[in-house]
């Protein structure tokens, strides 16, 4: 047991530098994937296939979660608001919390777990089985052919998924609130419509989910591309994708909320 201050310090430095380096590498990686021209023809087909893998396959989990979250929000909101006699505000509560916060954030978290981890594993496996190298040897840039369509599919899918999540959640809320708990339908929807602003609430929520889409997909494809090409490396990369993107989503959500709604 030696007390090695200098060694620890050097280790810390290495650690920090290593992380800064990987941020830089992932930035260059994203830049190359997006901003260089692709030479092959069937770009559209590749994008559609990835939209299917990333978007359509995430649809079920997003819809079901949205429904339940909306229903729970209505139930919880009702039980509190009813004691103030203002159960008519349940619609407002459900819609605002979904549109501003829960929609983008929960969709992004589900997306990271469902599509992000799948992307990382898929790309990592392609690396481990030398598919990326062989693509390069054939003369196709894997950044263009493999990474770019996946990235764009993620960026496009996320806001759409969040919109669907929101709508299903609100419908779930109205099912519980109006049909089950008996809130007057008019006050449910009118209260909602008066408090929700399309640009400030729905629009900002969509901006959030667009940002989350970029960040989560970026992390997922980079972790896959950067994975150590062994089974252990891939499983670690998949875990990292979920952990990093969840943290990034929650952290960014705070920053975005502060910027968007902080002045109100």
């Amino acid at each position: 047991m030696k007390f090695d201050v200098l060694g620890r310090l050097a280790q810390l430095g290495q650690f920090v530098l290593g992380h800064i380096q990987s941020i830089g590498r992932s930035g260059i990686f994203l830049f190359l994937a997006i901003f260089s021209r692709a030479s092959f023809k069937n770009k559209g087909e590749l994008l559609i296939r990835q939209l299917y893998n990333v978007g359509v396959l995430s649809l079920i989990i997003v819809t079901v979660s949205g429904l339940f979250i909306g229903m729970v929000l209505a139930l919880q909101g009702y039980s509190i608001l009813v004691s103030y006699g203002s159960e008519g505000a349940v619609g407002q509560l459900v819609a605002l919390s979904l549109v501003r916060e829960l929609g983008p954030v929960v969709t992004a978290l589900l997306f990271a777990g469902r599509a992000g981890s799948a992307l990382t594993a898929e790309i990592g496996l392609m690396k481990a089985t030398e598919q990326l190298s062989s693509m390069e040897m054939i003369g196709v840039d894997p950044l263009k052919r493999v990474i770019a369509p996946r990235f764009w599919a993620g960026v496009i899918s996320m806001p759409l998924l969040a919109a669907i999540f929101n709508l299903v959640g609100i419908l779930g809320g109205s099912m519980v609130g109006v049909d089950w708990l008996g809130i007057y339908e008019g006050s449910f929807w009118t209260g909602m419509q008066q408090s929700v602003d399309f640009i400030d609430d729905v629009g900002n929520g969509m901006v959030k989910s667009l940002v989350f889409g970029i960040v989560v997909t970026w992390i997922a494809v980079f972790q896959g591309y950067d994975a150590t090409p062994t089974s252990e490396g891939i499983s670690r990369a998949t875990t990292r994708t979920v952990v990093y993107s969840s943290l990034a989503v929650l952290g960014l959500d705070f920053i975005l909320t502060a910027v968007m709604f902080g002045e109100l």
Binding site: L51, Y52, A95, L160, N166, Q194, V196, D197, F198, D200
Partner: protein, 154 residues
């Protein structure tokens, strides 16, 4: 053949996403074609706006006719300047109308209520309410009551 099902489901997914967005615009945020677009601006100066916030509603006879755009301090008069966006359809607010900051219920949010005056001339875009009524601050009210000054003022 397999590509076809993929394409169809992707198309359906994109369509569902767009529709959800449209539904949120119409059903959730109550965005209608005439509703939010055209407004004209009126201003009012208050001694105290209390907790009045941008986007609070402006009502006339209980009906919402607009939203507050900005609340800012007028440096010269030390008063609060409130800029309102009024629905263009409501273009006949008499020039001697009163803008009052009222509270919805005891603890509810504050909004501006407009009481109609009797003049034939109507307020135009950019003009201001001459007659205003500041927010009721509960603490001040209680303070005054305790000092027995209520009623002596007027």
């Amino acid at each position: 053949m397999r590509m076809r099902t993929v394409e169809i489901s992707v198309g359906a997914f994109m369509l569902a996403g767009m529709l959800a967005l449209v539904a949120m615009a119409v059903k959730v945020s109550g965005l209608t074609t005439s509703g939010s677009g055209e407004t004209y601006e009126l201003t009012a100066y208050f001694d105290n706006t209390g907790s009045l916030k941008p986007r609070a509603k402006i009502s006339m006879a209980g009906v919402t006719i607009g939203k507050i755009k900005r609340v800012e301090l007028d440096k010269d008069s030390y008063m609060a300047k409130v800029v309102m966006g009024i629905d263009s359809k409501v273009d006949n607010i008499p020039i001697d109308s009163t803008a009052a900051i009222v509270t919805a219920g005891l603890l509810g949010e504050q909004f501006i209520s407009i009481s109609i005056g009797g003049d034939d001339i109507y307020l135009q875009n950019g003009e201001r309410f001459e007659d205003t009524q500041s927010a009721l601050i509960l603490e001040e009210l209680i303070g005054k009551f305790l000092l027995g000054s209520v009623g002596k003022d007027n």
